[in-house]
Amino acid sequence: MDKPRILEVRQGILKKNDQLAENLRGRFQKANVCVIDLVSSPGAGKTEFLEETLRRLNEQGFKVAALVGDLATENDAKRLERSGVPVRQIETHGICHLEAEMIERNLEGWNLEELDFLFIENVGNLVCPSSYDLGEDARAVLHAVTEGEDKPLKYPTIFNSSDIAIITKIDLAEVCEFDREACHENIHAVRPGIPILETSGKKGIGFDEWFAYLKDLKNGIGSRATA
């Protein structure tokens, strides 16, 4: 006789990803590599920003590498390779975000102990990446001046789950009539206290502050906000 009964599960829906991410976090900490996840909408300037980051850190003598997520094409990885550091493309074949399993799989063959920093460029998407822990030390949300000032209010989850906000393409601020104050206010409204940087990949603005943040993070002063 069939009799329905209740079974308590009380488990996170993304438990598998969370567990994998925690394993990765442990590996990264053991290897003393600082891992940063870059998120933004498509076209906000992640690749340009990352290219400058990799090139400059490499010149400064840091050992860096990058994993780049895209739905398709290897274009971004090829671009970033110009910086002269190891770059791997993760083609998600339609999946709109990166997951811990993809990171784990694509780290094979890399000696993490040799790295100071590992950058993960997430798929351009302000919605889905927010829920997927990748084991990173910090998540940086990039937002271009060309996107206006409202995005943080429209996409609160991704801003709230980030540790630093980076306003990109700042050299275009005047032309876009970018309301800097409003944007800062909106970012802090959904994520009080988050540090905000303003950068331009093309003009090389703001990178000193970005590297100061990264070095603090590596030295353990910064801490991962609980998502």
């Binding site: 009964r5 079974l7 829906i13 993304l14 889905c128 209010l153 989850t157 789950s161 206290g193």
Partner: protein, 120 residues
């Protein structure tokens, strides 16, 4: 958000928790925070698709939506946030990042129907 992917994860977890090969799930109960990024209606729709040809097919999906609640360090009170969620204490106006509820994505329980084992 890609609720189909989430729905597939739910189905996978439910099937893992079914005690026998003959068991079926008739109801799946979730707690989803309003700031989890999951859209309830999209999840309901995706669930129907994700459960097809599984032991969860036909199960009812019940979703309890949890409001976004922050705690204010200044006045020690909780506030429920609206949409968009402005992280400001509704009592004293102080900005607060202290989220105590809102990002949950939890599979709470499942209602199981044990199948009849064949005796042959």
């Amino acid at each position: 958000m890609h609720e189909l992917s989430i729905a597939c994860s739910i189905v996978e977890t439910v099937e893992e928790n079914l005690p026998t090969a003959d068991s079926r799930a008739t109801k799946v109960i979730l707690k989803i925070g309003k700031m989890s990024g999951v859209v309830k209606d999209a999840l309901l729709f995706s669930f129907d698709i994700a459960t097809q040809d599984t032991r969860v097919q036909g199960a009812t999906l019940e979703i309890e939506e949890l409001p976004i609640i922050v705690y204010c360090e200044k006045c020690h009170k909780n506030s429920e946030l609206g949409n968009p969620p402005i992280f400001r204490c509704e009592h004293c106006g102080e900005l607060t990042g202290n989220l105590i509820q809102g990002k949950e994505m939890e599979l709470v329980s499942i209602e199981i129907e044990d199948g009849q084992t064949s005796n042959s």
